[in-house]
Symmetry: C2
């Protein structure tokens, strides 16, 4: 039940109405793996520079994350700086790819055997490269973004055709499919290959679309969103972690995965970086599950 997580690892500067952090731990692979840790064993595949604090490797190990394929190389770690004026939209102030520009994921033998794969939002060429190295993964998923939809669509379509699940936000789904109605757009995305389309709608929750059913997950009603960075990644981490713990894509598993993704994302946005995610345990998660159940049961 090991989950392989490939993505960016970053030292971010983030400013929101509630404060400001400098060079704090971030990146899609980090949010996803820290959200998955309560459900399954995860392996991080990524790259950092020599400026990356050694204490973080210790943190990863303490949280049960395998770091065999987390490469440390000369140079500086990927850096993103952003500011949220309202909490729904980040303004990017700076992006420095640094060592991430040369990221070329090569999996160790242990990681090639992972049954579950999450391909974070990186170049589709690299996503394909990871998929090719896997030995019969049972369930695979990818995330993406507008940059790759407009700039590398043919490669991206190959990835989408190969995975079981895609995570995508609603604007990107409309861009990918060129269809305005969100349910029609999900249908068109499904015809591109995946079994499940998970549509992220920010503060409005999410839904999953399959041939057999559609399922809406509300948000957990967070009263104070401190920093939305990584919300989508931590959603994917809770979702994929639960899928890996169950080992199937049955309807009931998928619906629960949507709820667990919702919950891990809700914890994530309550602090900067992974400060909240690192502290939660399964009891915290289950307490929120109860609240969510009550908020949609009738």
């Amino acid at each position: 039940m090991s989950l392989l997580i490939v993505g960016s690892i970053a030292l971010d500067n983030v400013e929101t109405p509630y404060g400001k952090v400098d060079h704090s731990l971030g990146g899609s692979a980090i949010f996803t793996s820290m959200a998955s840790k309560n459900f399954c064993k995860s392996s991080i595949v990524g790259i950092v520079g020599y400026d990356f604090p050694k204490s973080y490797f210790e943190l990863f190990r303490e949280n049960g994350l395998d770091t065999q394929d987390l490469k440390s190389v000369p140079g500086r770690t990927f850096h993103w700086a952003g500011k949220y004026n309202d909490l729904n939209k980040a303004e990017t102030l700076d992006t420095q790819l640094n060592v991430f520009a040369d990221f070329d994921p090569q999996l160790c033998d242990d990681n090639k055997k992972c049954d579950y794969v999450f391909l974070g939002n990186i170049d589709p060429v690299l996503q394909l490269k990871v998929l090719k190295q896997m030995n019969n993964a049972k369930i695979t998923a990818c995330d993406t973004m507008n940059f790759w939809i407009s700039g590398a669509k043919s490669k991206l379509l190959k990835v989408i055709n190969e995975v079981d699940i895609i995570f995508i936000n609603e604007d990107e789904l409309r861009m990918l499919t060129d269809v305005q109605n969100i349910f029609e757009a999900a249908q068109k995305a499904k015809e591109m290959g995946p079994q499940l389309i998970v549509v992220k709608r920010g503060e409005y929750g999410s839904f999953v679309y399959s041939d057999e059913f559609i399922f809406f997950a509300p948000v957990y009603p967070v009263r104070k969103v401190i920093d939305p960075t990584g919300a989508g990644d931590s959603f994917a981490g809770g979702f994929m972690g639960y899928i890996a713990s169950q080992g199937n894509l049955e309807e009931i598993t998928i619906k629960n995965a949507m709820i667990f993704g919702t919950i891990t994302a809700s914890f994530n946005v309550e602090s900067f970086s992974i400060d909240r995610l690192r502290k939660i345990c399964m009891n915290d998660i289950l307490a929120r599950k109860e609240v969510i159940e009550k908020s949609i049961r009738f």
Copy 2:
């Protein structure tokens, strides 16, 4: 179990990506009452001009709507013209108040005895005037809009303080309370007096906020939205119609009312004017209820 519905009655010109209608039946009282008709007996309180087709009075009676307080006076009926470029936002092209400018609701004795009241989005002065005429209504509700929030706030706050339920969209709720976080905003609105805050979020569904619980209703996944005009009013009509049929504000009643509101709104947006609403029966409604239950049950 009679529901009194006060609001505008209009002859609208509407253009959407799917077509165009001229002088078609519209207005908040119309959408609300046509949505409520499957649940309870409703009375329309409104005003029209002599240009208003007589056949519509017949239509109202066929649908069980009481028209004793639907006044017909010399002059032209309220007219709104709007265009939807994308289906989430109307551009107003023309507004002619006409006879609606002199609307002064005077209730007949029968209507004063209604147990349930829905005050559509009209001048808060008129909303208060209707409330004052009621003899011990059991459950009262109001809708409003940005125009009254900015232009007649103190009067509006009096209405809000007197009713049990307010229907409000999320932008208006933020404007009313000056609070950005939508759940905190709902809490602040609750402190203004009502027992229930029903927050409408367009294509993302809705939620209801009370002291005891929060409940999220998803949307019914409509594949082709023809005309969103009246979506909020038809939501309120399904909601209030069901409340009137049950006669209480228990948690289970409220949650079901949210789902019935969702369903009547979903039918409404599938056609121009009330073309779809006038044709549906309880079996159509219950079929959609089953779909919604499946889409949120886990």
